[in-house]
Structure formats: structure tokens, C-alpha cells
């Protein structure tokens, strides 16, 4: 009895000291079953609490087609708490019903059954023999990764089909770069960093299964290829420097052009005789004396372009609508800047300038006012004078003026510019009177307005009287009057053509196609215009009329006693003119041909009033 009690106490004590209560084992659980090659498989379980007693586990399985329960054939190969099914025990496309039983002294526990089919639990081993090498492609390195399938997986026969995946990263990076390689066993990685150290890993997966674990890491170091990059940069630098130098050189070569492009030069003054240096350094006397053209009025044959010639377009009109507009006209005409034929850069251009014109007009105006003040009936006098002048003109038209026909007569006068020329001023009085005359003339001429419709019937052309008032005193018109160049601009005064209104004895103004140049020799006291054929006067100043190009103009060679205008048939342009001009007044130019043709009623006038030699004939009293 005492022994039993002692035994019990001992047991209790033992149990108490242990601190545990024995219990049947807890339910184990199957964690996973995997097949690496679709030929074998392994199952792992996790045991529950053992209940304080040594617990054993057993795995039992049952195949789908039979009720036979088998126990796990191999508990050790796969490690602890595992069951390995070898090839003989593995059937595919067969469901396995697997249960794990935990047993201890007090009881047993069954895990939940698991149905598996081997073909669905395939998880291969990682690929093997992963090799990474650095290779070169046209000087640029790349990584070549190659591997082999896990040795257990039978891919040769097609029993298992594996697809691969690899990942790469630099040693210092965190994120991997994934590449799917498909079924191939080799892969190239490009775009490497020079001198970088790379880590490469590969894994595989069957066509319908689970991914394997990553293979062991392969390390590879990419060699430095920076020097190749450097050489490229050197090349680029050299090329760009070259190009830059060439560009600079080109710019340097063309700097003048560039300068002209960017900063166009200010056109300098082109007044003949205007010396910039003189302006800077010299005295005013010198400047102005320099301005004075020494050979003006032109005595030698010089360029016609440089001369300014006044010409007076005169036409005879019955009604003399003068007056009121004259001042206005003058003003207007002064305001107008005629620049149709003159270029801004020629010598005349400056004379044509607006300011100068205004100055001139102002002078003219003063003169006008003066004259007005002097005689308000100046106008009438002007009319009278004009009439006289007309008559004179007509007379002279008889004498030899071939035709005076103007539709829109334009008078271009330049009285004030040339008046101060000292050379030709015999006396101040003369000068004054000449000026007066000029002004009066301008006045009178200005009194004539354009009457476009007035003479359109007859003539389209204009006849120009070359009035060289500028170059000489009216009284002192020299026989060899210089040839004056027609000057356009200044005060445009339209004078109705004289030829229109048949002056009492005036010839019917025919339609002229050419302009006949007759030099005004002088104007006498009676305001009679004395004409002189131009060609004679050529020689003195050496200037000649500038003929519009392409047209044949005749110079009046002379007027003979029968009031026949002798014309000179010339060739073209200036050359012949020059030729003729060199001849003295009395001589007949050898190179010149002249024809004296009786004046006919009908004259061919050219558009600008020049007389066509072909049809020219001398006027006669009719």
C-alpha cells in the first residue's frame, strides 16, 4: 500500500516538475509537395505540438484509382518531416490523397488530406553552370550569360519544357533588371557601364509549373572602355574646333560685307566739288569755293549729267489763265519734289533736294512778293510780258522753232541756284535784273497751268526751251550758249503749249514727237527770246544735250536767213554729240549732217516733244 502511494506521489511529482500535461499530438499539416522533374516528388509537413510525448509522424497516401493506403516510402532523403516519392512510387496524371498522422503515446492526430497531381506541382531546380563572359561587339562590350537546365530535368526528350529568366544588376544598385529568355539557354546584355561590376542570376520554370529558385550569383566586372569613348570625344572636339575656325575665317574674310549688311554706310554727299576733308579741316571759303564748280557753265565737254539745265516749256494760249494760281503753283511746285528722272545720288540730286527747293522757293517767293509789292499789276505785266514773249516766241517759232507743242508743259526753272555765279555776272545790276528776269519768267511761266485737256488735241509732246538762265545773264547770252542739260524737278510749272493756239501768224503747232532744242541765246530788253541753235553752242562748254537714249534727236544747227531751221542729223547719244560739240560755232561739223527741210504743217512730234529729224522741216511763215 505504502509503495503504491509513493509511486503515485512520485508520478505526480514528476508530472508536476515537468510542468506539462501529456496530451495527444496536435494535428500536423502538410505544407507543400513539390516535384522537381515530373518524375519524383516530395512532401513536407509541419508537425503540431507533440503533446509532451514523443510523437511520430507518418504519411499515408492513397492513389485515386484504388483504396489501398500506402505509407511514405522514404522519410529521410528529403530531410526532416518529409516524404520522398521516388520514380517507382510516382505516377503522373494520378491524384494522390496524402495524409500525415502524428502519433504519440496518448493518441494520434490526422492532418487534413491533400489531393495532388504530380504534374501540377512541378518546381524545377535552378539552372546550373551559369557562366557570364564579357564580349565585344564593334568595340562595345556586352555580357554573354549562358547556363544549363537543372540536370534532373529531362528537357531533351521534351518531357519537361523549361523557360528561363535572368536578372542583372550593378553591385551598388538595389533593383534588378529582369530579362525573359524563353527557352534559350543563352542571353546577351548590352549597354554596360564601363568598369562596372555586375551580378547575374538565372531561374527557370516549366511550362505549367512554378518558378525555380534563383541560381547562385555570378559576378563579372566589365573592363574600362572609357578610353574609346574618350577618343570619340577627342574627335568631336577636333572637328568642332575645325569648323569653328573655318567659320571665323570666313567671317573675317567677309567682314566688310557683313559690316555693310549690318551697318549700311551712310551715303555721303555727292555734290560735285564737295570735299569732306575740306569740310572737316578747311575754312568756309575754301569749302564754298570748292563747291563752285570751276567749269560751270560747262565750257568743256563734260558729262551732261552734271549740268542742270533750265528749260522752259512754252506754249501759246489764247486764254491766259494766269495769275491766281501762280503763286500757289509756285509754292506747290516748290513743294513737289521731282525725282522722276534724277537719281538721288547724282549731283543734281542734292540740288533737287526738298530743302534746297524750299529755299529756292522761298527766294522766289520773296522775289514774288517783291515783285508783287513793286507792282501789283505785275501780273498784268507778266501777262503782257508773257504775251509779248509769246509773240516773240512765235516769232522765233517762225524763225526756226520747229514746233512747240506741249500738252502738259513743265517748266523747270532753277533760277536762284545759278544766279549768284559770279563769272557770268557782268554787273550786279545785270545780275539782279537777270534774277528778276528769271523770277519773272518763272512767274510768268508759272502762271501757266497745266491744261491737260487744252492741248491734247494737238500735241502730246512737249517742247522744251532750254533756257540757260542759270548760266548766264539774260542779257549776255553768249552765242555759244552752253548746252544745258534738261533739268527736271524744281518748280514744275506747267505751261500750256504755245503751239496750240495758233498765234496770229504762228504756225499750226503740229504734233511733234521730238523735242527740239533751241538754245536761248538771249533775252533782250523787250523780253524777246533770241534763239540760237544749240549745236553751235556745244563747243564752248563742251556740253551737249543729253539725249534720251534710244531716240534720235536733232540739234538745231542754225537758222538761216530765210528763217529756215537747219537741223543737224545726228547719230545716237552723246558720242556724236560730243563730236559735234567740239566744232566751233562757225564751222559746220564735219561729222554732222544737217538737213534743211521746209517746214511743213504737220510735224511729227514725239511724245516728249522732241522733233523728229525725219519729219522735221523748218518753219516758215505761213
Amino acid at each position: 500500500m505504502r509503495k503504491v502511494i509513493l509511486l503515485l506521489l512520485l508520478l505526480c511529482f514528476t508530472a508536476h516538475t515537468r510542468g506539462k500535461l501529456h496530451s495527444p499530438p496536435a494535428k500536423p499539416g502538410l505544407t507543400s509537395c513539390r516535384s522537381p522533374e515530373k518524375e519524383t516528388f516530395t512532401c513536407w509537413w509541419k508537425p503540431g505540438s507533440d503533446g509532451g510525448l514523443p510523437t511520430t509522424h507518418a504519411l499515408y497516401y492513397r492513389k485515386e484509382s484504388s483504396e489501398t493506403v500506402y505509407e511514405c516510402p522514404d522519410y529521410h532523403t528529403a530531410g526532416e518531416n518529409s516524404c520522398f516519392f521516388n520514380k517507382n512510387d510516382t505516377s503522373i496524371w494520378v491524384n494522390y490523397n496524402i495524409t500525415v498522422v502524428a502519433t504519440n503515446a496518448l493518441g494520434r492526430a490526422f492532418s487534413d488530406p491533400v489531393e495532388i497531381d504530380v504534374v501540377y506541382i512541378v518546381k524545377p531546380n535552378p539552372p546550373e553552370k551559369v557562366t557570364v563572359t564579357v564580349m565585344e561587339d564593334k568595340g562595345w562590350p556586352f555580357l554573354r550569360v549562358s547556363w544549363e537546365p537543372p540536370h534532373k530535368a529531362d528537357t531533351r526528350s521534351g518531357w519537361i519544357t523549361l523557360i528561363y529568366e535572368l536578372r542583372v544588376k550593378l553591385e551598388e544598385e538595389i533593383d534588378w533588371e529582369m530579362h525573359l529568355a524563353g527557352q534559350q539557354k543563352m542571353f546577351n546584355i548590352f549597354s554596360l557601364r564601363s568598369g562596372g561590376k555586375y551580378l547575374v542570376e538565372v531561374r527557370c520554370k516549366p511550362d505549367h509549373g512554378f518558378w525555380s529558385e534563383w541560381s547562385s550569383t555570378s559576378y563579372i566586372k566589365v573592363p574600362d572602355y572609357f578610353h574609346r569613348e574618350k577618343s570619340t570625344w577627342i574627335l568631336i572636339t577636333v572637328f568642332s574646333t575645325f569648323t569653328f575656325l573655318i567659320l571665323m575665317w570666313l567671317l573675317h574674310m567677309n567682314r566688310h560685307n557683313l559690316k555693310h549688311c549690318i551697318l549700311p554706310p551712310v551715303p555721303g554727299p555727292k555734290i560735285k566739288g564737295f570735299d569732306k576733308q575740306l569740310l572737316k579741316n578747311g575754312k568756309s571759303n575754301q569749302i564754298f569755293s570748292a563747291l563752285v564748280v570751276p567749269d560751270f557753265p560747262p565750257a568743256t565737254s563734260s558729262n551732261y549729267e552734271d549740268f542742270q539745265v533750265e528749260y522752259l516749256e512754252v506754249y501759246v494760249r489764247r486764254e491766259q489763265e494766269l495769275v491766281l494760281e501762280e503763286s500757289k503753283d509756285l509754292h506747290n511746285s516748290c513743294l513737289k519734289s521731282e525725282s522722276s528722272t534724277s537719281d538721288c545720288d547724282s549731283g543734281r540730286g542734292s540740288c533737287d533736294s526738298h530743302t534746297l527747293l524750299m529755299a529756292k522757293c522761298r527766294e522766289a517767293k520773296e522775289g514774288e512778293r517783291q515783285t508783287d509789292r513793286e507792282c501789283s499789276p505785275m501780273r498784268t505785266e507778266a501777262q503782257r510780258r508773257l504775251k509779248d514773249w509769246e509773240e516773240e516766241a512765235l516769232n522765233y517759232a517762225h524763225a526756226g522753232i520747229v514746233s512747240l507743242e506741249m500738252s502738259s508743259g513743265r517748266v523747270k526753272t532753277w533760277p536762284s541756284v545759278f544766279s549768284p555765279l559770279p563769272r557770268y555776272s557782268s554787273s550786279p545790276l545785270d545780275q539782279q535784273s537777270s534774277l528778276q528776269m528769271a523770277k519773272q519768267l518763272s512767274l510768268s511761266t508759272s502762271s501757266y497751268l497745266t491744261q491737260p485737256g487744252h492741248s491734247t488735241k494737238e500735241a502730246l509732246g512737249q517742247s522744251y526751251w532750254d533756257l540757260c538762265l542759270s548760266s548766264k545773264q539774260p542779257h549776255l547770252l553768249n552765242p555759244p550758249t552752253p548746252v544745258c542739260r534738261e533739268l527736271q524737278a524744281h518748280s514744275d510749272v506747267n505751261i500750256s503749249s504755245i503751239g496750240h493756239k495758233r498765234a496770229p501768224a504762228g504756225p499750226r503747232s503740229p504734233a511733234l514727237h521730238t523735242t527740239e532744242y533751241v538754245e536761248v541765246q538771249r533775252v533782250d530788253n523787250k523780253d524777246t527770246l533770241l534763239l540760237q541753235p544749240v549745236v553751235q553752242g556745244c563747243g564752248r562748254m563742251g556740253g551737249c544735250f543729253q539725249m534720251p537714249h534710244g531716240e534720235v534727236y536733232s540739234k538745231v544747227k542754225g537758222v538761216d536767213s530765210d528763217n529756215v531751221l537747219l537741223l543737224q542729223r545726228e547719230g545716237m547719244g552723246e558720242d556724236s554729240c560730243h563730236k559735234s560739240c567740239t566744232v566751233s560755232t562757225t564751222q559746220k561739223p564735219s561729222g554732222c549732217i544737217y538737213t534743211a527741210v521746209p517746214v511743213r504743217d504737220e510735224m511729227a512730234t514725239m511724245a516728249n516733244g522732241y522733233v523728229d529729224t525725219a519729219t522735221m522741216c523748218t518753219l516758215h511763215t505761213c
Partner: protein, 213 residues
């Protein structure tokens, strides 16, 4: 999209195969490659379908689900392991494949019709996938016809595996789901068999191209 692609693809596949058969231009390895791609797709679809179905499957269903041995194709003798499979001749393998595929022609229709009324939250997805299954299956079958013509006469043999399940898969929700799941599991297994056999055949045909396997 997949529907159209499947139809066009199948037509193209068939045309190509027929042309190949006529001209003899396309090698068998290519044909097998295309066929195995089809079968791969087929099995993948069935796998996803099973997962979709399992997302809302009553636990009790797993308990009372019929065994796979109850599949109507279980009577067909197929290799059970690798050695057995590798010993089967090509024509026999193809014959097996064709038989299996043929056996599923009708049950797929049943699956399709019952998918329309399946009491499952992912019913529409399942229905679409069943449609795809049908198309892929059809195109594969057509291709296999051509393939079998290039092989030994044994490939022409098709075992008849009739389906006796009828059109009705159950009355109540549970039984419907269970039966649907069961049928799908049978198809999944059979599609895996087809895929495996075709890939074995492919490897065998591509002896010159080891990278194919």
C-alpha cells in the same frame, strides 16, 4: 478579341496546314510547334478557369467531389510516367491526343451552356473562357487532322470516348458548381496530357534543333 483571333487563327492555321499538306513545304516540326503552342494555350486557359472557379467554391464541394477516375476519359489508357510515355510511338501518341481532343468536343458544349447559368460571381469571365476553350480546341483538332496525315496510319485511329453526362449538370447550386468543377478538372488534366504528348512529339521531330526542346 480572343474570339476573333481564335477564329482567324484557326482558319489560318488550317489553311497553312492544308497548304503544307498539299505542297509539303512546311516541315512537321513546325506543325508540331504550332500545335503544341495551341495546346499550351488550351491548358493555361483551363488552369485559370479552375482558379476562377475555386475562388468561390463551397468547401463542402471538395469533400463530395467525384473522383477524377470518374472522368469519361479515364478509360483511355495513357502512360502514367515518363518511361512509359517515352516508349509510346509517335503515331500512337498522336492518336491519343486526337482521341482525347475528340472526347471533349461534346462536353465542352455542355460546359459552355451551363456556364451561362452558372451560379457563380465570376460567371461571365468563366463563360468567356469556355468560349475560348472551344475555339482553341476546334482549331487544334483541325491542325491535328493535317498532322496525322503526315504520320503513320496509326495516327488516324481515334478512340471513342463518349460522354454520358448529358446536358444537365445539376439542379441545385451546389451540385451545379460541383459538377462544373469536376468536368473542368477532367478537362484540365486531359489538356495537360495533350500538351505533354505534343511537346514530346515536337522534341522528337526537331532532332536537328535541340534548342526547341
Amino acid at each position: 478579341m480572343a474570339h476573333c483571333g481564335g477564329t482567324n487563327g484557326s482558319k489560318l492555321f488550317t489553311m497553312v496546314l492544308y497548304m503544307a499538306a498539299a505542297c509539303g513545304a512546311i516541315p512537321i516540326s513546325d506543325l508540331l510547334d504550332r500545335a503544341s503552342q495551341r495546346s499550351d494555350k488550351l491548358h493555361s486557359l483551363s488552369t485559370t478557369l479552375t482558379q476562377d472557379l475555386d475562388s468561390h467554391f463551397p468547401p463542402i464541394g471538395r469533400v463530395i467531389m467525384p473522383r477524377p477516375s470518374m472522368c469519361h476519359t479515364s478509360s483511355l489508357q495513357t502512360p502514367n510516367d515518363k518511361e512509359q510515355a517515352l516508349q509510346v510511338s509517335e503515331s500512337d501518341l498522336l492518336s491519343l491526343v486526337r482521341s482525347l481532343l475528340q472526347a471533349w468536343e461534346d462536353p465542352l458544349v455542355v460546359l459552355s451552356t451551363s456556364a451561362n447559368t452558372l451560379p457563380h460571381p465570376a460567371q461571365s469571365i468563366i463563360s468567356n473562357k469556355i468560349q475560348e476553350l472551344q475555339e482553341h480546341s476546334k482549331s487544334l483538332g483541325d491542325g491535328l487532322v493535317v498532322l496525322s496525315g503526315k504520320m503513320a496510319p496509326g495516327a488516324q485511329t481515334i478512340s471513342s470516348l463518349p460522354y454520358f453526362g448529358g446536358n444537365d449538370i445539376g439542379q441545385d447550386r451546389i451540385s451545379k458548381l460541383i459538377n462544373f468543377n469536376f468536368l473542368l478538372s477532367c478537362f484540365r488534366r486531359d489538356s495537360h496530357k495533350i500538351d505533354s504528348f505534343l511537346k514530346i512529339l515536337r522534341c522528337r521531330a526537331a532532332k536537328m534543333l535541340p534548342e526547341m526542346c
